[in-house]
């Protein structure tokens, strides 16, 4: 059995390289930063999906209904960093809007806290 140290860099190591091939080797996205729970929404119909990579199309399809960055990353099963670059590409093309979550103030307000509390109690 591999030791803990080795665990980080053997079987798990391969997939990291290939996903970044999807981003042409870029590891940073451009434009405004966005949160893990920012909402992504596709803006309009896109006539020529052939111009996009399949992964970009998958992400765009998920964003047809407002979806968070984390949900999209989980659904397409790609590392978060890769998904962020794809999202930034789509934003640059005007195909998605990425909105800051409503509740992203320094602190969550008390009204929302009470709503969360009631929601949790009702689970």
């Amino acid at each position: 059995m591999p030791s803990n140290d080795e665990r980080w860099l053997d079987a798990d190591a391969g997939p990291v390289v290939r996903p970044y091939a999807l981003t042409q080797g870029r590891t940073r996205y451009t434009g405004d930063s966005f949160d893990l729970v920012a909402t992504v929404t596709a803006t309009r119909s896109f006539a020529d999906p052939g111009a996009l990579a399949p992964e970009h199309i998958s992400v765009l399809q998920l964003a047809r209904v407002p979806t968070t960055v984390a949900d999209i990353a989980s659904d397409v099963d790609l590392p978060l960093g890769v998904v962020r670059i794809i999202l930034a590409d789509l934003r640059e093309l005007g195909l998605v809007v990425i909105s800051t979550p409503v509740v992203m103030a320094e602190r969550v307000d008390k009204h929302t806290l009470r709503e969360v509390l009631n929601g949790l109690r009702g689970l």
Binding site: D5, E6, W8, L9, D12, A13, V16, V17, T27, D35, L36, V37, T39, T41, A42, T43, R44, S45, F46, P49, L60, Q61, A63, R64, V65, P66, T68, A70, D71, A73, S74, D77, L78, P79, L80, G81, L95, V97, S99, P101, V102, V103, M104, A105, E106, R107, V108, K110, T112, L113, R114, E115, V116, L117, N118, G119, L120, R121, G122, L123
Partner: protein, 199 residues
Amino acid sequence: MDYGVCDADGNRQYRAIKILLAGGFGVGKTTLVGAVSEIRPLRTEEPLTEGSLRTDNTAGVEGKTTTTVAMDFGRISLRGDLVLYLFGTPGQQRFWFMWDELAIGALGAVVLVDTRRLADSFPAIDYFERRQIPFVIALNCFDGARRYETDDVRLALDLEPDLPIILCDARSKDSAKEVLITLVEHVLVTADEPLSGIA
């Protein structure tokens, strides 16, 4: 193919609430997230720091600068547009780069503690204290682990008297729910207090 979309409804958004779950390796983070929410896979990448390059075996992959880290990611739809997101992240210092982002706008954090390995929770507690992120301690009561009084744990971890410490069974939905409720109640109480240390 047509990717027609919600233009008219384009402003509709979730109110996404983030809660962080921190704790040492094997403390039950995945179990707790799975008990109370629909748990889903989420991968991210860790830049290999000098520290991890020393400890990780990078022979043969010298050009490699990132490695994959799996996060525990859970989603709880509360009501209407209100959605709670749980992010379980490893507790070691080398993962703080992930927390820095997760912590922005987060409601608060739960530090899950195994009383047999209290020291594993020190970095997480330090992290949240320093950044004034409200948190609670949840003691995962493993079978066979000695039951500690919460006061003993408070002393051992040098925690403020008003910081909630709750016993839990990470496998139980009700128990996991109670942990989250304790956190939200704690945040509500502390929301009344002025922030210390801010001029």
